[in-house]
């Protein structure tokens, strides 16, 4: 549709939460957009309720290497498909809290943590959160009722009340209870993380992308992998080099570029786009690209309860306890954590819950699957400079690009938080008569990827400014979780979307004033 040498188009890289949202905002406002997406486009009929089939269809399986605290073979779990990881996501959409965006001022100096305050405050982001919640149809906002509670939620709620917790509900969810805005209603299928067959769960594949297409200003190029950003001597991006579905190298010229590949891929693209002026990677004069990688503290507790739960039934994370999200160093750690529902298939549990065990002691537990309940802990992860995404010096992937290396170092704060949080979770389940409990710690690949191109006022210590524009390159924007200076304890996507809505407004304003 658009010519490769049309230097008036905006190029958006990635079609997930960040890229899909940005592309639609621009297209709705008359800007021509080319969206490069490495993955294939699926039809709704491709979504089947089978985790393994879907894993083969849309998960990012190109090699990535994990080091230190990251899982070696599969350090991060993202999607490679139109819609990005909004196909996998479970659609919990809590906002950050004000103090979490002022982490340095609130927590003080912490050894080993590269803590900062965000360059913007919550009040500045709030209107965009509101806009995002309306756009996604988030339950518990805009007069949209909460989802009904599943059995697993009821277990969580009862246990939480026994411990005196009060702030408990079925979570703010980007899941329709009733059909809304072209999407179906939730049938409580329980397969949210494998693609939602009813479209009840918000995914850009069937919302932002299709809306953008209706404008006539938008061209999606799926199976097109961006391999390099091209820049001129004036520190401006001039275009994007990519490999199309046939493996042919193309260059799309660009007026400006928004990168939303999810932190590991956004980092890789910047690091691979070296120039004479930026020998360490484009927009990396600070040396901060790839550093301060955060992924949240994530563990789970599974309990054998005194009666049947059938926790696989129902929207997976529609249930939360917020009482521990506060900052209270008296608990022995900084930052807070959520307790939320989660469920697992027999296969997942078999492979993670009883490591090294076999024989009857193993099968006796598995045969009590009906009685299992589970809770997940999601806590704040502090920025550690050496938690870092880099390029492997030798290994190349099928595109000929260096393989991503994810080096994740636990800050000592993590262990203190995990010990406290798991103890609370155990007490919750014990108060209901759980007969056995199983810890799932250090078994999850990262589903949230943040921090590797942090925003800040100072170009020497941050990659992007308060709008998510790179300090070094005036027409290069980062539009994903890489921007987060700190991460709070909330799931990141609604914040990514709010930041992108704010960024889009800024870009449109610049265009109006002929400044971009």
């Amino acid at each position: 549709m658009f010519e490769l040498d049309d230097d008036n188009v905006a190029v958006v890289i990635g079609s997930g939460a960040g890229g899909g949202t940005m592309a639609n905002q621009l297209a709705q406002n008359g800007i021509k957009v080319v969206c490069l997406e490495a993955g294939k486009r699926m039809a709704m009929s491709d979504i089947v309720n089978d985790d393994d089939v879907m894993f083969g269809k849309f998960t990012w399986l190109d090699e990535r290497i994990g080091e230190a605290g990251a899982l070696p073979d599969f350090p991060v779990w993202t999607c490679k498909t139109v819609g990005g990881s909004t196909m996998h996501w479970t659609a919990a959409t809590p906002r950050l809290q004000a103090h979490e965006m002022q982490a340095k001022s609130t927590y003080g100096l912490i050894d080993g943590a590269n803590l900062v305050d965000w360059p913007i405050r919550l009040e500045e982001l709030s209107p965009y959160y509101a806009k995002a919640e309306l756009m996604l149809g988030v339950t518990g906002t805009n007069g949209i009722p909460h989802l009904p509670g599943s059995n697993n939620y009821k277990v969580l709620e009862a246990g939480a009340r026994n411990l005196g917790y009060k702030d408990i509900d079925t979570n703010n969810m980007a899941i329709n209870q009733q059909p809304r805005d072209g999407r179906g209603g939730c049938l409580q299928l329980g397969f949210c993380s494998s693609g939602c067959a009813t479209g009840a769960k918000w995914s850009t594949l069937y919302t932002e992308i299709t809306s953008a297409e209706k404008t006539g200003n938008f061209e999606l190029r799926s199976e097109c992998m961006a391999v390099r950003l091209l820049a001129d001597a004036d520190n401006r991006v001039t275009g994007v080099q990519y490999l199309d579905a046939t493996g042919t190298t193309r260059i799309q010229k660009a007026r400006f570029v928004c990168v939303a590949g999810n932190a590991p891929e956004t980092t890789r693209l910047l690091l691979n786009s070296r120039t004479d002026r930026f020998p360490e990677g484009l927009a990396n004069s600070s040396g901060q690209v790839g550093r301060n990688y955060m992924r949240h503290v994530i563990t789970a507790l599974v309990g054998i309860m005194p009666g049947e739960v059938h926790f696989y039934k129902g929207a997976q994370v529609a249930g939360v306890v917020r009482d521990e999200t506060r900052h209270d160093p008296g608990r022995g750690f900084h930052g807070g954590f959520q307790l939320h529902t989660v469920n697992f298939t027999p296969a997942f549990l078999a492979n993670t819950m009883l490591p090294g065990k076999w024989g009857k002691e193993f099968t006796d537990v598995m045969e009590q699957y009906r009685n299992l309940a589970a809770v997940m802990i999601m806590g704040e992860d502090l920025p550690v400079p050496d938690s870092r995404i880099t390029l492997h010096p030798q290994r190349k992937d099928q595109y000929g690009l260096p393989v991503t290396v994810v080096h994740y170092q636990h800050h000592s704060n993590n262990r203190a938080m995990i010990n406290y949080a798991m103890d609370r979770a155990r007490k919750m389940f014990e108060s209901l008569g759980a007969t056995r409990l199983f810890d799932l710690v250090d078994v999850f690949p990262a589903t949230h990827n943040m921090g590797t191109a942090r925003m800040g006022e100072d170009p020497a210590t941050s990659v992007c400014d308060r709008w998510g524009r790179t300090h070094d390159i005036g027409n290069l924007y980062i539009s994903d979780g890489s921007l987060f200076p700190t991460v709070g304890c909330e799931n990141p996507t609604i914040t990514i979307i709010a930041l992108v809505l704010r960024q889009a407004e800024h870009i449109l304003d610049k265009i109006t004033h002929n400044e971009l």
Binding site: L61, N151, P346, A350, E367
Partner: protein
């Protein structure tokens, strides 16, 4: 797909997030294994029945039929054939088991003797490979799902909205 990347996929899927486990259509070797489930035993020099007994002893569910375990054994054989290109690991491992069986075939021992022998080889590469592999494959089987009470796909039936997602009755 190269042998290395096939092995890598199997490792990812078997060891890391078994949501992934191994039965995806993207794994050619496995498609082969599934074809073999009801058909002939592959001509590979691996004692599939002994391997099936091993899978059973690792994960003994009384209500699960022997054929299910045999199916898993054949899939493992096909995976090894596809991934490593040879079956040395399995052949050697089963031989080691027989060596622990005091001159008999390990498979023909009684259950407690089999376990004793199995415990003696628990540190071998063979054991450490077969354990996670069989686990990842077995717990994807519909027979197991039925046994443990996992309903899986309920799309055709209209989901769990009207089929018990909120019917818990033992909480007060």
């Amino acid at each position: 797909m190269s042998a290395i990347s096939r092995r890598r996929l199997i490792t990812i899927t078997a060891n890391v997030i078994s949501v992934a486990a191994v039965a995806g259509p993207y794994l050619p070797a496995l498609a082969l294994a599934q074809d073999n489930r009801t058909g002939t035993v592959p001509d590979d020099g691996v004692d599939a029945e002994a391997l099936a007994t091993l899978v059973h002893d690792l994960f003994p569910h009384e209500a699960i039929a022997a054929e299910v375990y045999t199916g898993i054994a054949r899939m493992i054989i096909a995976q090894e054939q596809g991934a490593a290109g040879d079956l040395m690991l399995l052949q050697t491992g089963l031989r080691q088991l027989n060596e622990q069986a005091g001159g008999q075939e390990w498979r023909s021992l009684d259950a407690s003797q089999r376990l004793q022998a199995l415990n003696k080889i628990a540190d071998t590469e063979f054991f450490k490979t077969v354990l996670p592999r069989s686990r990842a494959l077995l717990y994807l089987r519909p027979e197991i799902w039925q046994l443990v009470g996992y309903g899986g796909n309920a799309l055709q039936q209209g989901g769990y909205l009207t089929r018990g997602f909120d019917d818990i009755d033992w909480l007060n």
